[in-house]
């Protein structure tokens, strides 16, 4: 492998937009490499989601350093009272801490995109993908809660948001300042449970939860508009009580802005009131960004009280305070971004299975010349 995780110095010096863009480019390259090695796979998901996930990790979430081993552990059995060896892949997202955020990864067929990102951030060793989709490995094609970066078992889609809601509610009940960030695919908005979850998030005024949606407008059978439309998504979500932003899903500034605005609104010490433009967070010696729990001294006394800002709803509910609405960022994305070869396959982009040796060679060629394209 010729490229490696960005060095701390490189990330620290890079302009904020470049850092996300560089990581996103490397994610696409790595996903392409392993899609070829695997003779097929979920490639368009890297095209659409690379900037969203990179922005979340680099500019939105406050996570501690990875607690997971650089070489992923093999599968150690399913969770049960009789199996003390079962483990979680969430430790790659840092320790659990009241002031740290949590990341819930819902469309787990995007797993390879997340693994690649974790490698670029130095949270996972550079060779971790040697185990990708191998028998007995946790670096599964479709991730489960033992897979690096995964906290819940979400492959039956549309179930993770409700669980994230429960986690966010628990955090609020405990008075924690850390937030819950959920990454979802647009296909998940066809499941009724997603809408039940939004109803409950709004009803219980769960404002410490944010959702980023990869709105790539495609799914297994083709274009979502042909399979079962979810539009107008923003209006539907607003009608359910969410604060909704529609942004260019490949623009890191646009992606980060709503989250940072919400942090300011909620009086989060991570962003100052005067901080109008999102800044690249400081990079620590481990190459992690926004990774350390704040020093105890830095915690202001005006910690938001337990419970929603507006207090529990009784009787006819008053309008929830702005900071108590679930935050949604609809990231409008291009499922072929960075890999134009894919366009020939539209509208069926969900899973790449090479149709001919020629097609395979074309992708192989793209990978070989990737370095040139990127520089």
């Amino acid at each position: 492998m010729t490229d490696s995780a960005p060095t701390p110095a490189a990330s620290a010096q890079a302009a904020p937009t470049l850092a996300v863009a560089t990581v996103a480019d490397r994610i696409r390259r790595r996903v392409l490499e392993h899609t070829l090695r695997n003779n097929g796979g979920y490639l368009s998901q890297a095209c659409s989601a690379a900037e969203i996930l990179a922005t979340l990790y680099l500019r939105v979430m406050r996570l501690g350093p990875s607690q997971g081993p650089a070489v992923p552990r093999p599968f150690a059995g399913v969770p049960s009272a009789a199996n003390p060896d079962a483990f979680t892949g969430a430790d790659y997202n840092g320790p659990k801490h009241p002031d740290l955020d949590r990341f819930i990864f819902s469309p787990v067929h995007y797993a390879l995109v997340l693994y690649s990102l974790l490698i670029e951030l130095g949270r996972l060793g550079p060779d971790a993908l040697e185990q990708f989709n191998q028998d007995g490995s946790t670096v599964e094609l479709i991730g489960a809660e033992h897979s690096p970066g995964h906290e819940v078992t979400a492959g039956s889609l549309g179930q993770a948001l409700s669980q994230a809601g429960g986690i966010a509610l628990a955090r609020r009940l405990r008075g924690e300042r850390g937030r819950v960030w959920v990454f979802m695919s647009d296909g998940e908005f066809q499941e009724g449970q997603t809408w039940e979850a939004f109803a409950a998030l709004a009803h219980h005024r769960i404002g410490n939860l944010g959702v980023y949606i990869d709105a790539n407008a495609q799914q297994c059978d083709g274009a979502m508009a042909d399979v079962m439309t979810i539009e107008p998504l923003a209006e539907r979500l607003r009608a359910f009580g969410a604060e909704v932003h529609e942004v260019d899903g490949h623009d890191p500034d646009a992606l980060a802005a709503p989250a940072r605005a919400r942090l300011r609104l909620a009086g989060d010490p991570r962003v100052q009131a005067s901080d109008e433009t999102p800044r690249q967070p400081p990079v620590d010696a481990l190459g992690q960004t926004e990774s350390q729990p704040p020093e105890p001294a830095a915690v202001p006394t005006a910690v938001p009280a337990i419970g929603p800002t507006a207090g529990p709803a009784t009787g006819p509910a008053a309008e929830p305070a702005a900071a108590d609405r679930p935050l949604v960022v609809i990231a409008r994305t291009d499922p072929c971004r960075g890999i134009d070869l894919l366009r020939a396959r539209a509208p069926k982009l969900h899973f790449l299975r090479f149709k001919s040796a020629d097609e395979h060679d074309a992708y192989e060629d793209l990978l070989e010349h990737w370095q040139d394209d990127a520089s």
Binding site: V78, D135, G136, E140, G143, G158, E191, G192, Q219, V227
Partner: protein, 342 residues
């Protein structure tokens, strides 16, 4: 060598659609993954896309069936049986509606991991009154399913196979509702092997190896899991000196082994029954051959169970079983499955 058929359901569904104008296909964003794309393209006016919304799709199927149509649901087995279980029981099962549920990727036939592996579907659906449950063991049975289901007055769940499917049974001997296939009949049998689904191919490897070691085996293949009243099964077990082994691509709770145990107990047949299947555990994502080995659903596991039952160790190892391989299709199949849409 045994023939391997590519996408037998796909072609059969198109044929069936031509003969049955009331047949509709309903899909939940897995149309080609469930080999319904041919039907969709041939009869677009009879194909309905519901997106990834299984509960709702089952409700629509119920409504259509109440109006005299014959809805054929196509999605993965897990997404028919787990997520919309209540809709299945109340909207379809209770009114005994002729909805046909074609569920793909049974058990550990998918590397998609725990969320994609239907290891409890038979158990769940056996508990639904009015439900008929069929499971395909080869291409002939895959091709039999639609005609067989058509004759049933009520909901039918089909545990279906896709992709490259071996033809173990003659093409002109289709599945017959409620009737097991006798694949091997030993004289004064030492044991009975009762297999279903993809485990039948495994049993067909193990049985000749057992017989070569002087163990007399009666082997039956089951494709109707409910109703479960074929007297051949209990008779075969009653006659087996040491008892029986059930082997299935499902949890040992609630599937073929459980159904046999219930029958044996009710009829007072005092024979041992070893149940091979997932031993009350979830699985994980890996290739089919790997998982069959890991969870003891393969030919070697069957041989070991036979040793336990007869109380003697047999000189049979994995190499020996490879020699009696019934077909060379397993490797390509595993590979095809790994690169399939999930």
């Amino acid at each position: 060598m045994i023939e391997t058929v590519t996408r037998p359901h796909r072609a059969n569904l198109i044929r069936f659609g031509e003969q049955h104008p009331a047949a509709l296909v309903l899909g939940a964003d897995l149309t080609s993954s469930c080999e319904a794309d041919g039907f969709r393209d041939r009869y677009p006016e009879r194909f309905f896309s519901f997106g990834m919304a299984e509960q709702n799709m089952l409700g629509f199927a119920a409504g259509l069936a109440r109006e005299g149509f014959l809805p054929y649901i196509h999605t993965f087995a897990v997404f028919i049986t787990r997520r919309p279980f209540d809709q299945l029981a109340m909207s379809i099962g209770y009114p005994n509606l002729p909805v046909r549920l074609i569920g793909f990727l049974p058990g550990i036939t998918t590397p998609g991991g725990v969320t994609h592996q239907a290891i409890d579907d038979i158990a769940l659906l056996r508990a639904i009154p009015n439900m008929t449950i069929l499971e395909a063991g080869d291409a002939t049975e895959v091709e039999s399913m639609l005609d067989c289901a058509q004759a049933i007055d009520g909901p039918v769940y089909v545990r279906q196979l896709r992709g490259e499917v071996p033809r173990l049974f003659p093409a002109d001997e289709p599945l017959r509702l409620g009737q097991a296939r006798v694949l091997s009949q030993g004289p004064e049998p030492d044991l009975a092997v009762i297999s279903s689904g993809i485990c039948t191919e495994e049993a067909m490897r193990a049985v000749p190896a057992l017989q070569a070691q002087g163990v007399s085996v009666t082997h039956l293949h089951v494709s109707t899991l409910k109703p479960f009243d074929d007297p051949q099964l209990i008779d075969a077990i009653a006659q087996a000196r040491h008892g029986a082994i059930a082997i299935e691509n499902h949890s040992v709770i609630g599937g073929l082994g459980s159904a046999l145990a219930e029958q044996l107990a009710e009829q007072g047949i005092g024979k041992r029954l070893l149940r091979l299947g997932l031993r009350d555990t979830y699985a994980h994502g890996a290739s089919k051959p790997y998982l069959m080995r890991e969870y003891g659903l393969d030919a070697l596991a069957l041989v070991r169970a036979a040793e336990r039952l007869i109380g003697a160790s047999l000189d049979i190892d994995a190499d020996h079983l490879a020699e009696v391989d019934v077909e060379n299709g397993s490797q390509p199949l595993a590979k095809a499955d790994k690169s399939e849409d999930l």
